[in-house]
């Protein structure tokens, strides 16, 4: 039996939806990958997956980082937070197991009580899942503006391969009517399957991963299916996009995903941040897009494909509008945060990330 695509494969809102404002956040501390290798292996054995990763400070978590990214998004949007009808935070490191991050973020940015404020979870695509939901809320006309955030303070077990890359950071997006947007999200498409590549049980501190499941059947399968099916349904090829952003657990995976989908190194360059900030999990595709919007020109099309273990990918086609030129200067750019950098050693990292317990 041949599998056929559904007739309306693309998720396309009734009312065109735009990005009204966006904002990034990266904490200031950096842990070089060579430092992790020094502690656990006495130095680098072969290649390192990234150069360094961003690490949150002692007083930072997904809530505080989301607040700053959201404030940047509001500054670019030029709307009052009271106009928001949703404040959605996607993460796999919400500070509380039970107590929403969204309500506190909403109050801190000055949103009113008339909002949806649930938290989203789907490993590294929790942020883009919230973005698709925000497209639905705005595109149906139920609400004028919705805020979707992807943010993480990712943790790897000490000594595990993930410890080199598990990082902190992310971005926030305010969606609204396309005519008010600095870019239009033309449509999205999601591809998911039950895949046991990475998980964390309810009371476990660190995640587990099924070694042989992380590459081909998980990351590459879902990213390439989501990307190629969107492009086939839209009638586009890689040449139609000025830029592309792929989920970035390390440096090589997004480079290879780009190659498989026909994109060049230049097309992914502005959004490829994992070498210098690491894998920000639910924040990764979202902050790759914010760095790309920081340099895009009106008329540019951007393809974004996230990936979350478990597993699935959300793909978006975005058309950059005229308002980008003026609005991107109203808040800190992604590279401004990346330039703010204090290198730390493994001992400081262990203290900042709560790996040393006093009681």
């Amino acid at each position: 039996m041949t599998q056929t695509l559904p007739e309306n494969l693309l998720l396309k809102p009734n009312r065109p939806v735009g990005i009204i404002g966006y904002g990034a956040y990266v904490p200031r501390y950096r842990l070089p990958a060579i430092e992790v290798a020094r502690v656990w292996h006495g130095g680098a054995r072969g290649g390192l997956p990234i150069k360094e990763k961003a690490v949150a400070g002692l007083d930072e978590d997904v809530i505080t980082m989301s607040i700053e990214a959201a404030r940047n998004a509001l500054a670019r949007a030029g709307i009052h937070a009271h106009a928001l009808r949703a404040v959605w935070v996607g993460s796999e490191s919400h500070p509380y197991a039970v107590k929403p991050s969204g309500t506190l973020v909403a109050e801190a940015i000055g949103a009113g009580p008339d909002i949806q404020a649930g938290d989203w979870e789907f490993a590294c695509k929790a942020g883009t899942e919230a973005l698709v939901a925000a497209m639905g809320l705005v595109g149906s006309g139920m609400g004028r503006y919705a805020l979707a955030i992807g943010m993480d303070t990712a943790q790897g077990r000490p000594g595990d391969a993930l410890e080199y890359t598990a990082a902190s950071g992310g971005a926030a997006y305010i969606l609204g009517p396309a005519e008010e947007g600095l870019a239009q999200i033309e449509f999205s498409y999601s591809y998911v399957s039950d895949t046991p590549d990475f998980w964390r049980r309810a009371h476990a501190r660190y995640p587990e991963h099924g070694q042989r499941f992380t590459g081909e059947p998980a990351y590459f399968k879902h990213i390439t299916e989501a990307g190629s099916r969107l492009m086939r349904a839209a009638g586009t090829t890689a040449a139609d996009y000025a830029y592309a952003v792929f989920h970035q657990p390390n440096t090589k995976f997004p480079q290879r995903a780009a190659l498989l989908l026909g994109f060049s190194e230049e097309q992914i360059a502005p959004g490829l941040l994992s070498p210098v900030i690491g894998n920000t999990y639910a924040g990764a595709a979202m902050i790759g897009l914010s760095a790309t919007l920081d340099v895009a020109k009106p008329g540019d099309r951007i393809l974004v494909v996230s990936f979350g273990s478990g597993a699935g990918s959300d793909a978006f086609q975005i058309l950059v509008g005229e308002a980008i030129e003026e609005r991107r200067n109203k808040a800190m750019r992604t590279q401004d945060y990346i330039a703010r950098r204090t290198e730390i050693d493994y001992a400081t990292y262990a203290r900042l990330r709560g790996k040393i317990t006093l009681k």
Binding site: R28, G57, L58, D59, E60, D61, I63, T64, I67, E68, A75, P95, Y96, L104, E107, A108, I109, G110, R328, N329, K330, A331, M332, R333, D336, Y337, A339, R340, T342, L358, K359
Partner: protein, 135 residues
């Protein structure tokens, strides 16, 4: 719009929301409903820009309960650009440390946890050195 007082108090802690005096335009923080400049009634909420300068500071090596995981940390008197002075922790300090007159900006951070790791997390304003960048 009349904002309930309890909500304004959380706003005060999360986002530096104070008051502006309708009689003399004086900016008030923390909110106290009476203008310290002219004595008139002042209940209009006002969100401060969050920008200011360090007026003086001290480094805490012995912290009260709930703050001990952060020692040593710096507490400063910050003069807001709108006038009022607030006491707050400084955060994200680099190797250069703190200087009197240093420009700082408000960020919302974790202040402490109530009791042990089972307790509530308390969030509020701190100040960090101004970051260079577009704004």
């Amino acid at each position: 719009m009349e904002v309930p007082r309890h909500w304004r108090l959380k706003q005060q802690r999360y986002a530096l929301v104070g008051e502006v005096c309708p009689h003399c335009e004086g900016k008030i923080f923390p909110p106290r409903d009476v203008c310290p400049h002219c004595g008139g009634e002042a209940k209009t909420p006002y969100t401060f820009s969050g920008k200011g300068t360090v007026y003086s500071y001290t480094i805490m090596h012995d912290a009260p309960a709930g703050y001990d995981e952060n020692v040593p940390y710096t507490v400063a008197l910050v003069k807001l650009e709108e006038g009022p002075m607030v006491t707050a922790q400084l955060t994200d300090l680099d190797e250069q440390g703190v200087q009197i007159g240093m420009p700082v900006e408000m960020v919302t951070r974790r202040i402490r946890q109530d009791g042990d790791e089972r307790g509530l997390l308390v969030y509020g304003y701190k100040f960090r050195p101004m970051i260079a960048g577009a704004r």
